[in-house]
Every structure is written in C-alpha cells, then in structure tokens.
Symmetry: C2
C-alpha cells in the first residue's frame, strides 16, 4: 500500500486537473467563468473529494468512476463558501488568503458564480461515464439531499438565525451537523455508492465522516481563536466579531481539544469492518493536527 502522503498526492493529481479543465473551453460569459474558477481553484484542502475517492477505493470500487462526483462535491462546497461570504451573509473579506469572491467580482457576479457552481456540480455528476445509471441516480440524489434544505442550506438558515443571539450547545450541534456535516457525510457515502458498497459499509463511512466533520468544525472554531491570520488565510476572530456562538465560546479551548480527540477516535473505530482503513485513519489524525 502507498504511503499516506503519496496517496494524498495521487488523489489530488486526479482531482485538480478535472477542476482546472471544467470550464476551460467555454465561451466567455462576461466574467462568470473567471469568478467561478477564482474560488474553485483557490487552493482548498480538497478533503471532501479525497474522501469520495478513498471511500470508493476502500469499498472495492474504481476511484476513476467516483471522480466526477468527488469534484461535484468540491464545487458545492465552493459555492457555499462564496454565498456564505456575501455581505448579506457573513460579510467576510478574506478567504484562503485572498479577497473573497464578491470583493473581486462584485456581489451580483458572486451570487451567480455560486449558482453556476451549484448547477455545474449536478451537470458534472450526471456526466459520469461507464457507471450504471441506477448508481448514478443514487449518488447524485445523495449529493442533492445533503446540499439542500434538509442539509447544508438548512444549516445555513439556522446559522443566520443564530447570529447575535444565544443558542444552546444542542442547537449549535444541529446547526453544524447540517451546515458542514451533511456534505462531508455525503462525500464519503457517494464513494461507497459508486463502488456498489453494502448498506453497512455506507452507514460506516457516513458515521466516520460525521465524526470527522464535527472534529473538523470544532478545530476550525479553535483556529479562529488561536490561529495566525497569515497561516490561516482568513480573518481571525471573525466569529467573535460576528457574535457567533462556537464550541470555543461555549466550552473553552481545553474542553474543545478533548472533544476533538474523542471524535477522532470514534471516527477511526467506525471503520473497523474494513480491511484497509489506514488512509482514512491517517486523514482523521492529520486533520485535527492541522494549523490551518
């Protein structure tokens, strides 16, 4: 088996060219493609598409078949960041070390870049070749459910409503489960669906991903407090400035560290039925040690 970092590189070298080529030969649309690719190719960590490829591999599938879905998930993640940063939402100026989309292209184009990426995600998913149509439908339906009102968009709505008012830890957990957990879980499940994995396998990778997603989100909140703006590439302390409830403001940094460790252990144990969970073990550990 390939070493972790080599495998990571191999996955990225599948993902990046697809994302780069996606809108390359299109007729110009008044700067729309510039706005879409500005955010899509802004150097994200690509955790979600890597999850899709790796759960597909772990369930015995061919990661090439999961590649369009993996990139579709990343497009949806990117669109959500663009809309989330808008002045009427979180009003952020900096993302991944660069000005946010609307700062460069204006608000109208940022709205459209998000709309375009969300729609392109479904186009890309439905363009997957050599995959049985039934699996294609199931994988794309999983993506839509996670991204929509019962998933990510619903979480965003709760997030907006929570701003500036006190919410309970339970409410915060629900909010984050929807806002970030649902898409991360779908990323993992889709790889399993493409591979033709069993129901038990799908449930296991989903549990892993939900635990990982929660750990990741809490780590994110921690970095917003203790992180360094330059390393992080986004405005530090913005949660506090926006009066956002986070696990850090609720539990404090030390308790957060414990929760993250526990969630990571639980994520790892969720994969006990698989023969080769090593990559996803290492991925979970790497993500909680990250500095950005």
């Amino acid at each position: 088996m390939m070493a972790f970092s080599e495998q990571m590189e191999a996955d990225l070298s599948m993902i990046e060219p697809v994302l780069r080529r996606c809108f390359q030969d299109r007729e110009p649309r008044a700067g729309l493609y510039e706005a879409m690719t500005y955010s899509l190719l802004a150097g994200g960590k690509r955790i979600r598409p890597i999850l899709t490829l790796e759960t597909c591999r772990m369930c015995g599938g061919n990661p090439e078949q999961a590649l369009p879905f993996a990139c579709a998930v990343e497009m949806i993640h990117t669109y959500s960041l663009i809309h989330d940063d808008l002045p009427c939402m979180d009003d952020d100026d900096l993302r991944r070390g660069r000005p946010t989309n609307h700062k460069v292209f204006g608000e109208a184009m940022a709205v459209l870049a998000g709309d375009g990426l969300l729609t392109a995600a479904f186009e890309l998913a439905l363009s997957a070749r050599d995959l049985e149509p039934g699996r294609m439908v199931a994988a794309t339906a999983c993506l839509a459910a996670a991204a929509g009102d019962r998933g990510m968009v619903g979480g965003q709505a709760l997030d907006i409503a929570a701003e500036g008012r006190g919410i309970s830890q339970k409410e915060l957990e629900q909010l984050q489960t929807l806002k970030t957990g649902a898409l991360i879980s779908a990323a993992a499940e889709i790889g399993c669906i493409v591979a033709g994995g069993s129901r038990e396998q799908r449930e296991a990778v989903s549990l892993y991903a939900r635990k990982l997603g929660r750990a990741f989100q809490i780590r994110d909140d921690m970095l917003d407090v203790e992180g360094d703006e330059k390393t992080l590439g986004k405005t530090v302390g913005s949660d506090n400035a926006n009066e956002k409830a986070t696990f850090v403001t609720m539990l404090g940094l030390n308790a957060c560290r414990d929760v993250v460790s526990r969630l990571t252990e639980e994520a790892v144990s969720a994969l006990s039925q698989f023969e080769h969970p090593e990559f996803l073990h290492r991925l979970a550990e790497t993500l909680i040690d990250r500095k950005k």
Copy 2:
C-alpha cells in the same frame, strides 16, 4: 380530446399539489421553508411545467412520470426570480403582485431560499419513480445544462454586464436565449425524454419552445412598457429605470408585435410532425395575447 382550458386546468391540478406538498412535512429551519414556499406558491403561470407535461403527452408518454421533472423546472424558474430580484441584481420590490422575497425575508434568507429551491429541484427530479434510470439521468442532465453556466446562469451574467451600456440586437438575442430560452427549451425537451421520444421529436419540441420563449420574452418587454402595474403585479417601467436594453427600446412596439406574430407562427410550424399538436398551438397563441 379535451378542450384547451380544461386540459390546462387538468395539468395545473397535477402540478400545484406537488409544489404545495413539497416542503410540507419538513422540520422548521428558521424560516427557510416559509421563504421558499412564499415564492414557489406565488401564483406563477406554470408555463414551464405545463410544457413538460404536454410534450410528454404529445410524444406518447405518461405525464405522471414527467411530473417531478415538471415541478423541478418550476423550482429552478422560481429560484432564478428570487436571485434576480436581489438588491445586488435587478433590485426589484414587486413580483407577481407581492413584495419580492428579500423584501419579506431579508437578503440572506432570499439567497438561501434560491439556493434551496435550486437544490430541491434536483432532489425532486431524482426522486421520480417507475422511470428507467437512464432516462432519469438524461432528463436531469438536460435540466442542469439548461439552468447552468451555458444556459440560464450564463444569460444572467451577460444581463448584468449589459446593464447601463448599449448592446446590439444580436447580443440581446443571445442574452435572452440563454437567460429565458434555455430553461423553456429544457422544459419541453424533458417531457420528450421522459416519454422516450425520438431525436427528431426532441429537436422539434426544442425549436417550438425556443421560438415560444423568444416571443414570450418580447411580449414581456412590451408589457413592461404598455402594461398596467396592477394587472401585471410587478413594477412597470423598471427596464427603462434600470437602463435595460430590450427589444422595445431597440425596435419599437409595432415592430415587436410583428416579431412576436412571426415567432408564434414558426413555433406552431415546428410541431408539424406530431399527430396532436393542438394544445401546444393554443398555448403559443394564448401566451402572446396575454395581458400579464
């Protein structure tokens, strides 16, 4: 064969309950569903879903099978209106006789209501039952292509860029073909795809729909000048106030009337290969005679 208006009623009585029930049993999400249904159930003419049901019927298919797609098209149309009305886009206060979405629910929720409807459209399309997965993939892919960067979203981008500067008639035609024509064409094609129609049939209904879409758009521009705000339910003269290029400002009202008649005739002749094109003939004629 049923009379035109009875058939229209029968179609609407299939479409409306699906749209009404769509988000009925969902857990509350801080007003998200209120915002989504406010616009979805605002009494649109439902031309697009009617087209989907009727091309399906005309191609020998079962309209029940096309129903989820028909309603998905209407969701995408509705989301595009919500985002189009935003202050950073057309900044409209009135739509279908009521305050626009962001006027009631705020900008952030209006962005999310649009995102939610766009995503829900794909969820709904992919939930179609008793339909061969291959056709489901083809129909949903057609919807995504028409709604996205090479279709509606691309047209919106051109539209934003065109505001306040002079554009040629050719540019205006391209803009409107993308912004409104693409989705109307897809509405018609999807019915044909669900029915398992031939390539010739798909091309014919697409041509009909594109001609109809152009006639409809020009009629819309005419109504913006000559219409009555109360009948129309939206701000009259807003194109002029926004310095928007329209066919009316370009050709004048009289020439527009001629173009609309010609396009309607061309739409009708596109259907010559079908045994029962009567409904779609009448639909085209009705739409250009409309007062709102």
